[in-house]
């Protein structure tokens, strides 16, 4: 156990439910969570340490708000709150309880309260019930306006007896999930639309570190469209810090498809080339899977037949977290994670020029694969990979 040295104006106590369940991997997960907390707060001085199934962040007062805000976005955090740490002497615990109760009263949290005790260290001489009674009595004698209400309290004072005693009041919810980085790395096909950022967020929630790839076709697509995608990557990086965005010029690939293929196949083949490209990129960058924002039947390239074909171009798993979701459900998440307004900006990510009026809806995957092979785009994809730009968030 590493004790916090500096800074230590205050302490956040962090609970991390799901991780605690994974007993054998716990060490690795907690390490991931600590790293993830640090990654969310670059340039800030604070300490992160673990002890007895809890992670603690020691902070200096001016950074408190920023850290609290980041913990609210750190996957793996179930809840967090500021806690007072004292020695396990009852007198010290009592002093801390009086300080906290006084603070809650001043803040107007209400008069009905409850003291709850968790005795992780069963060797402690008093039982949980005995400690709760003692603290309850003390607070009522000190603050006559307080009323004990174990069923509908305005606030709960929790006392945990661990290697130290920790006292805290109401907790803020975390986003649950698994710490980013604990489930490997995926490469997200990021367009300017509503779906793909949500798909990225959902996989980050399950602990996946993200890289993203954006295909643009200058001058058919505008710089505004590219800036929009960069904004989306920046928003996503608030949940999955350190996103690398690869910006790929796909105009030559688009030109080849438009030249060689039938109009109704253009969208599907373009999509296939993107999957192939991303697979090559992921392999090179240590990505273990592809992530797409596909939702079954939403557009022609997202029918099960189309997905069969485009999936053939990747030998990595293709994760499609939105596959069973309705647009309304996706939009609700996009609003929650703050990508909706940016996604809704009017710049088109792929020019109307290249969207056929009647795209194939139920393609024959094996026939399409042969058509794809006839395009012979491998060299073009290699060139696109060589000229791709990398933007980090």
């Amino acid at each position: 156990m590493r004790e916090p040295h500096t800074p230590n104006d205050g302490l956040f106590l962090i609970k991390y439910g799901e991780i605690a369940l994974k007993k054998r991997n716990r060490g690795a997960f907690v390490k991931s969570l600590k790293e993830s907390i640090r990654a969310h707060l670059p340039g800030l001085s604070f300490s992160v340490y673990e002890a007895w199934d809890r992670v603690y962040v020691g902070f200096s007062r001016p950074d408190q708000e920023r850290i609290a805000e980041a913990l609210g976005r750190t996957f793996g955090v179930v809840s967090f709150c500021e806690a007072l740490r004292t020695s396990r002497e009852m007198s010290a615990v009592e002093d801390a309880a009086v300080r906290l109760a006084g603070k809650f009263l001043t803040e107007g949290k209400g008069a009905r309260f409850k003291a709850e005790v968790k005795r992780a260290d069963k060797s402690f001489p008093l039982t949980s019930y005995e400690i709760a009674c003692k603290i309850g009595d003390l607070l009522r004698s000190r603050f006559p306006e307080l009323i004990v209400d174990v069923h509908t309290p305005d606030w709960v004072l929790t006392i945990e007896i661990r290697e130290h005693a920790y006292l805290y009041g109401p907790q803020s919810p975390g986003p649950y999930g698994l710490p980013v980085g604990s489930s490997g790395k995926g490469v997200l096909l990021l367009s300017g639309g509503i779906d793909s950022p949500v798909a990225g967020w959902m996989m980050a929630k399950r602990g996946m570190a993200l890289e993203a790839v954006y295909f643009h076709s200058p001058p058919f697509t505008s710089n505004n469209a590219r800036e929009k995608v960069e904004s989306l990557a920046r928003i996503l990086s608030r949940y999955a810090p350190g996103i690398a965005l690869h910006v790929v010029n796909f105009t030559p690939v688009l030109a080849r498809i438009k030249e060689k293929a039938k109009d109704e196949e253009v969208t599907l083949l373009l999509r296939a080339c993107m999957m192939r490209f991303t697979t090559i990129l992921a392999t090179r960058r240590g990505g273990e899977c592809l992530i797409t924002g596909e939702s079954l039947g939403q557009v022609a390239s997202q029918t099960v037949e189309s997905i069969h074909f485009t999936g053939m171009l990747s030998d990595l798993p293709v994760l499609r977290p939105l596959i069973g979701m309705n647009k309304e459900e996706i939009i609700a998440i996009a609003r929650k994670i703050d990508t909706f307004e940016t996604s809704n900006l009017p710049y088109e990510d792929c020019c109307v020029l290249f969207s056929p009026a009647h795209p194939l809806i139920h393609p024959d995957a094996h026939r399409m694969k042969r058509t794809y092979d006839c395009l012979s785009v491998d060299t073009l994809l290699d060139e696109a990979l060589e000229t791709a730009e990398l933007v980090s968030f």
């Binding site: 058919f220 505008s222 109307v352 020029l353």
Partner: protein, 414 residues
């Protein structure tokens, strides 16, 4: 990068004389023309001068000029006055009709539609395929409810010169026959300073003008209202502009507007000759490029006399105008898609579609607009840039073999 400005119809580079007058009047004559003291009187005198200077240029009397904030206000305040005249409610308003065209600026077209939702009736006339409104179509649309007819003098997207004299004749004939008072208005924003504008000769009751389209400052324009025409404006306030347009007058702006107007009207014939030569060269140069279109094609032929030489609409369908504008901008050429004033998506293709173009062709429209300072070498430079940059993009978008130019160019643009 040396920038070539070919978007004069959006806003013209300032005339030096206008900027000087703006600065001088702003610095020295800052009084409020309504004030009774010396500083106020001086400002009032300058404002009166500016009114006289401008009125003379359009063949009007000074009392017939109302200074406004620009073309949009001139247009919309006239239409909005209907709310004041027909304030009795829906049934009364429904007996007030605006007859206008599908090619008007949004400050007429959208304002008319807005009034329609408030109960006023609206007839919107399609032009012929050359973008020109047929006076006979106006005659057919007039009825016992018509109170305002508004057709623009020069279209801001195609440069089409509308037959305003002919339309004013049919409106007058109808008025005489039926005894109905109709206000005939023309939006002269893209015409003034570029082609001869005499309100008397045109026979209009009202006309809108803007300073920044001819090198004057933003935020100043004018509404001509023929003596005896009193639409009854909606806003009230300090009684300025003879009670027709309240608000402390923009004296410096009015003076600068008059200065710019004098410059342009003074050199109108010479400027027109050189603009005609430039546009002719532009049309000829564009026509040599495979896949180019001129909208309408007839402006290079039988309709040649019916277009302003300062505005040209062209395109390379199915390449969207947006792409051509972007590619041009990367090479330092400022041009526009359709109208610079319509940022709204659905409005972007209203004018070309009203001329019968399909949606994809309408989306391809670009607008090249020039002014007195535009040079032959700028036009040649523009043509060279288009010849260099557009054909292979057109090939890609049409699925023709790409000669590799796109790859090379794509990278140099990064």
């Amino acid at each position: 990068m040396n920038r070539v400005y070919l978007d004069w119809a959006a806003s013209a580079p300032p005339e030096e004389a206008a900027v000087r007058e703006l600065a001088e009047v702003s610095l020295r004559c800052f009084g409020n023309p309504s004030s009774p003291h010396g500083a106020g009187k001086e400002a009032a005198r300058l404002l009166a001068d500016a009114r006289t200077r401008f009125a003379r240029l359009i063949d009007a009397a000074p009392a017939e000029i109302i200074f406004t904030s620009g073309g949009t206000e001139s247009n919309s305040s006239l239409l909005l006055s209907l709310l004041n005249r027909y304030r009795l409610g829906d049934s009364e308003r429904r007996r007030a009709r605006i007859v206008t065209s599908a090619v008007e600026h949004a400050s007429i077209h959208d304002q008319a539609l807005g009034l329609q939702s408030l109960g006023v009736s609206c007839t919107i006339l399609k032009p012929r395929s050359n973008g020109i409104v047929d006076p006979q179509a106006v005659a057919d649309a007039l009825d016992n409810e018509t109170v305002v007819v508004s057709v623009m003098l020069v279209n801001n997207e195609t440069g089409a010169i509308q037959p305003i004299k002919g339309i004013s004749q049919v409106v007058r004939e109808f008025s005489t026959r039926t005894g109905r008072k109709i206000i005939f208005h023309t939006d002269a924003v893209q015409a003034f300073g570029k082609i001869a504008v005499s309100v008397k000769d045109l026979g209009v009751d009202a006309a809108s003008f803007s300073a920044h389209k001819i090198g004057g400052p933003r935020g100043i324009g004018a509404l001509y209202l023929r003596s005896g025409v009193a639409p009854g404006f909606l806003s009230t306030g300090g009684g300025q502009e003879a009670g027709r347009r309240p608000g402390t007058e923009n004296v410096a702006g009015a003076c600068a507007f008059a200065a710019a107007a004098e410059q342009r009207v003074g050199a109108l014939a010479d400027n027109h000759t050189s603009a005609s030569a430039l546009t002719e060269r532009l049309v000829a140069g564009l026509k040599e490029i495979r896949g180019s279109r001129i909208f309408p094609e007839s402006r290079a032929g039988r309709d040649a006399g019916s277009f302003s030489p300062y505005i040209l609409s062209a395109g390379f369908p199915p390449l969207t105008g947006e792409i051509v504008v972007r590619v041009s901008d990367e090479q330092g050429f400022c041009i526009a898609t359709g109208s610079a004033c319509s940022t709204k998506k659905k409005d972007r293709t209203r004018v070309p579609e009203s001329m019968g173009l399909d949606h994809s062709t309408a989306l391809s429209a670009i607008r090249i607009s020039i002014g007195p300072a535009t040079t032959v070498s700028e036009i040649e430079g523009f043509l060279a840039m288009i010849r260099e940059g557009i054909p292979h993009l057109l090939a890609i978008s049409q699925g023709r073999p790409d000669n590799g130019g796109a790859n090379a160019r794509g990278r140099t643009n990064e």
